[in-house]
């Protein structure tokens, strides 16, 4: 899986949920969306990226991926 592609997908999801004023709810929304629609190998790749680098992910998405990894 090209990580650049997954980063873009994750940030796009983040952009939708970013309009939610409560960022805790927004991060939960991103996490659930990824959990419910991404194949495990994609989730594994984005979690690994987030843990090892994560610089291209928005802050909100990073929070969500961290929740996803937990």
């Amino acid at each position: 899986m090209k990580i650049e592609r997954l980063i873009k997908m994750a940030n796009d999801i983040g952009n939708f949920f970013n309009s939610e004023p409560d960022k805790e709810i927004a991060a939960e929304g991103i996490k659930n969306h990824i959990l419910r629609s991404w194949d495990p190998r994609m989730r594994k790749a984005i979690i690994t990226y987030c843990q090892e680098d994560g610089s291209e992910l928005s802050t909100l998405v990073k929070t969500a991926i961290t929740k996803l990894a937990a």
């Binding site: 899986m1 090209k2 592609r5 873009k8 997908m9 796009d12 999801i13 952009n15 939708f16 970013n18 309009s19 939610e20 004023p21 969306h33 419910r36 629609s37 991404w38 194949d39 495990p40 190998r41 994609m42």
Partner: protein, 949 residues
């Protein structure tokens, strides 16, 4: 006309609930007010002679053959134009009437060729019938001048026009006006010179005629006659089935001679089409027996090898062994499948069952991924169900119709005609589209507002509409309080009322003048029943799902849901988009849109399918390509879908297909994807199998086998054989058994059965204990979310990453045309190429002039993804800065230039926004030249392998 004639009541049914009772030929009859005497008589079996009347169009009263006498009345009124009234006493037969009718027929026949025995309508001619009915035995006139030598027009590829046989009854003209709404025909001249004229006395093919066939259907003689009947004679039996083209799902009578389809005639009782058709469904069925059909299974080790014809057993065993080998080598999740909206519900169901239960993973996806997946997501989130809310007939109660990113007269022509009928009755129209589609201005139809937005700004536009509704207090508070989640509404209300969402603030983004947008919002919110219809111009964007949500918000805010004439209506592109999604062909959902991780559903399917199932979402189509290039997805079973032509960034798709170790294609033709395949399993056309399709209004309609499968098996049987070879047993003996299983396992389908479909003709889901005969309109009392409340969601506008720059200054957007269908695999193999034989690039005159481009010039279209070459069509239907093309021909390479941008929620590709530059060129692009050579090589490899017996 049609063989085994359906009953013709002469005039349309009246809608009134007030009944009157009268007497006809001594028999009492009760009929609704507004019914004609002719129809009332027909309803009790009294057939009054007629020629100019037929029940699909309003009465005209010109032929006078249907005259009757009314006790106490004067003269002989025409029964077709005389309405019933309480206490009338009608006489339809006496000597006086018989003399008048015989006299009329004598006049008609005096100017009609007496070649009945060799006429193509012999046995199916109303003029011939009426001559018999009135007892015409002689023609006393010897006319000085006749029309018998009038020149025939054979220009239309599907029907002939022989004016020598025309009785100028105007049925064709009225059908073109009332049924189709094109107004292409007229009666030119007066008196003896009167004649049917397409446009300005032009040949049919050159006229405005859209070849829908309504005129042919209405013609009582052989004047307008299908060429297939002229060539083959009349059919001898008919079978009712469902069209395999667009999401309207028209019902047709396949009129047959043995196993040969002679003609497809729209079925009067079809609830989606009410006896109407378009050029594709009516005439473009010849692909089913085209010489390009492949009817024997084939295999090869590599795409560089020649194909080798093998037995079904060998092909299936080889496919299964390859899939098992790949799983052993790369893991259980390394294979998957793609279903198609062209497949029946039953085919899709067992395909996803094979993948989930037989392959042991959820790597199943469908072509809805690239069209309406955002509809599924957006409507599920807001309303609780992934479907449109209304039946098609609901449009006849709409007071204002908003069409967003759809082109119904081209993409969904039969529904487009129904919509135009309502617009002619006075409903208002708002069109939101970057391009001037036909609906904006056509005969007797004119949009009140055309919001010509810039591609990629749908969310800003829909937010601005919502802003006006909220800030001008046009909301339906009672509906919101009773039917919606009020806390979510309050949050949305605050968001949408922010100034940045106002029409004025978004004008610079959308390009829509703020005043125009405000006026459109007011019209939608205040004109009465407001109905929204939308298409791929909404979904195929990076914010496709957000726009769907925005549409749902707008409809809820104005209370435009849950009743006739309103609603949110996605116009589905292909025949079974709705059904293929319903059947569980998304990688995260079981049939009925239930998540694979939902414990109750998971347990239900594990028990029913008697195997362990994965609770993890599988790969979507674009993810499959990524995984293939990553060597973690190496085997694909693709049925009825042509991803190598239809999916975006096609070079990437081709690379992924080349990377896979086994690609199995099941199709009726060696399509573009099959050129990358290792196993070819010949499919069956819609005429060769039993099953059901579900149209855009959730209507499940029967697909019936009218001829034997050319390759020996129906598609569901092939999938079943593969499942058995994979070691997962399937033993269905008929698709009705598959539907029974679907009904057992899917709450919205529990009441569906073939017996019920046979009895009712079709049925709209949800069909269960709550709605045993189906549900025409959804959400009438509560939404289908867990708490029953509609959910408002925030819809922030996020500009697409695909921006115009000095290097790529124009936006390319794509669409389809009436005569061609999707990737064109079917319609390119019919005479429909007479209307559209190549894809062209529409470019505004200003942009064309800047580049020295004229209509017909070859132009290079270069994007960040690639380059292709098309011929230009200079047109002011597109706005400056926007270019447009269709994607019906593989050599066009429209998807060489589309990018891998996609919807945030569903990965639906952003086909509608690609930044490009246009330059005048003199030769095809490098890709086109390479692909042409590749195609030539693949056809050679096919030719080397196939037998010609």
């Amino acid at each position: 006309m049609s063989i085994n004639k359906e009953k013709d009541f002469g005039t349309p049914a009246a809608a009134s609930e007030n009944m009157v009772t009268l007497e006809i030929d001594g028999f009492q009859v009760t009929a609704p007010t507004g019914t004609s005497v002719m129809r009332a008589a027909a309803s009790i079996g009294i057939e009054i002679p007629k020629l100019c009347a037929t029940d699909s169009i309003e009465p005209f009263g010109s032929c006078r053959l249907c005259v009757v006498q009314i006790e106490g009345g004067r003269g002989m009124p025409a029964s077709c134009t005389t309405p019933v009234a309480e206490g009338l006493k009608i006489v339809t037969q006496n000597k006086k009437l018989a003399d008048v009718r015989r006299g009329i027929m004598e006049l008609y026949i005096s100017d009609h060729p007496l070649d009945c025995l060799t006429c193509s309508a012999n046995g199916d001619c109303e003029l011939q019938d009426m001559a018999g009915v009135v007892g015409l035995r002689e023609v006393r006139y010897n006319p000085i001048e006749t029309h018998l030598k009038a020149e025939k027009d054979h220009s239309n590829p599907y029907f002939s026009f022989d004016p020598s046989k025309c009785i100028v009854c105007s049925r064709c003209v009225r059908a073109c006006e009332e049924t189709q709404g094109t107004f292409a025909l007229t009666i030119d001249g007066r008196g003896f010179d009167s004649k049917v004229s397409p446009s300005q006395n032009q040949p049919f093919l050159e006229s405005e005629c859209v070849s829908c066939g309504a005129c042919v259907q209405a013609c009582p003689t052989a004047t307008l006659m299908e060429k297939s009947v002229i060539d083959n004679g009349l059919p001898e039996h008919a079978i009712v089935t469902t069209c395999a083209y667009c999401g309207v799902g028209c019902s047709f009578r396949a009129e047959m001679k043995g196993e040969q389809v002679i003609r497809m005639v729209p079925h009067k009782d079809g609830k989606a089409n009410h006896g109407h058709s378009c050029v594709k469904g009516r005439f473009a069925f010849g692909y089913a027996t085209h010489k390009d059909r492949i009817t024997k299974p084939m295999i090869r080790a590599s795409i560089k090898d020649a194909w080798q014809e093998v037995s079904w057993e060998e092909a299936i065993n080889h496919a299964a062994s390859e899939l098992k080998r790949i799983q052993a080598k790369y893991g259980k999740d390394s294979i998957g499948g793609i279903t198609s909206s062209r497949c029946t519900n039953e085919e899709v169901y067992i395909m996803q069952k094979l993948i989930r239960a037989g392959f042991g993973n959820n790597n199943v996806d469908t072509c809805a991924r690239v069209c309406h997946s955002p509809t599924g997501y957006g409507l599920k989130q807001t309303f609780g169900e992934s479907s449109g809310t209304q039946d098609f007939d609901s449009v006849m109660k709409a007071d204002v119709i908003m069409v967003i990113g759809a082109n119904p007269t081209d993409g969904h022509p039969v529904f487009g005609s129904q919509m135009k009928k309502r617009l002619r009755q006075g409903a208002k129209l708002i069109v939101i589209d970057p391009r001037e589609i036909d609906l904006v201005k056509s005969p007797h139809v004119k949009a009140s507002h055309h919001l010509k937005l810039r591609p990629g700004t749908n969310v800003a536009m829909i937010n601005a509409l919502g802003h006006v509704v909220v800030t001008e207090n046009l909301i339906d508070e009672a509906f919101i309080n009773e039917r919606c989640d009020v806390a979510a509404f309050a949050k949305w209300k605050t968001f949408i009322a922010e100034e940045r969402n106002s029409p004025e603030a978004s004008e610079s983004v959308t390009g829509i003048p703020a005043a125009e947008l405000r006026a459109a919002a007011r019209l939608y919110a205040t004109a009465g029943n407001g109905a929204i219809y939308y298409g791929l111009g909404v979904t195929e964007h990076s914010q496709g799902s957000t726009t769907v949500i925005g549409i749902a918000n707008l409809a809820m805010a104005t209370g435009s849901l849950g009743h006739d004439g309103a609603g949110v209506n996605p116009l589905r592109g292909q025949n079974n988009v709705q059904g293929s999604c319903d059947m569980g062909s998304f990688p995260h959902e079981f049939p009925g849109y239930r998540h694979v991780s939902d414990p109750v559903t998971h347990q239900l399917f594990e028990k029913a399918w008697q195997t362990e199932l994965s609770s993890e979402p599988g790969l979507r189509i674009p993810n499959m390509f990524e995984a293939a290039l990553d060597k973690s997805f190496m085997g694909l079973y693709c049925e009825g879908e042509d991803i190598a032509q239809s999916d975006p960034d096609i070079k990437h798709v081709h690379a992924a297909l080349r990377a896979m170790e086994c690609v199995i294609v099941q199709d009726i033709f060696l399509n573009e994807t099959a050129k990358f395949a290792h196993v070819f399993l010949p499919g069956s056309s819609f005429l060769e199998k039993n099953g059901t399709f579900t149209n855009a209004e959730r209507r499940i309609s029967p697909v019936r086998k009218v001829m034997s499968p050319l390759a020996g098996y129906q598609d569901w049987e092939v999938t079943q054989m593969l499942a058995n070879a994979m070691g997962y047993p399937m033993n269905y003996s008929h698709p009705s058994e598959i539907m029974d299983e679907i009904a057992r396992l899917t709450p919205s389908f529990t009441g569906v059965s073939y017996e019920k479909i046979e009895r009712l003709g079709s049925v709209q889901w949800p069909c269960n204990d709550e709605a045993p005969e189906g549900t025409p309109i959804m959400h009438t009392e509560h939404f289908l979310r867990d708490n029953g409340k509609g959910l408002f969601m925030l819809t922030e506008f996020v500009p697409t990453a695909e921006r115009v720059t000095a290097k790529y200054p124009l936006i390319l957007t794509t669409g389809r045309i009436l005569s061609q269908y999707n990737v064109g695999a079917q319609t390119r193999r019919t005479e429909n190429v007479a209307w559209h034989s190549e894809d062209r690039l529409e470019i505004h005159p200003h942009d064309a002039e800047d580049r020295g481009v004229k209509t017909g010039d070859w132009v290079g279209i270069k994007s960040r993804a690639g380059e292709t070459v098309l011929r230009a069509l200079v047109s002011d239907r597109v706005q400056p800065g926007v270019v447009y093309t269709t994607f019906h021909f593989p050599e066009s390479g429209a998807n060489v230039i589309t990018t891998d941008n996609s919807d945030w929620a569903t990965n639906c590709p952003e086909y509608k926004v690609t930044a490009v530059q246009i330059t005048k060129v003199s030769q095809p692009s490098e890709w086109q030249q390479e692909y042409s050579a590749f195609t030539e090589k693949q056809l050679e490899l096919l030719e080397q392998g196939i037998s010609h017996d």
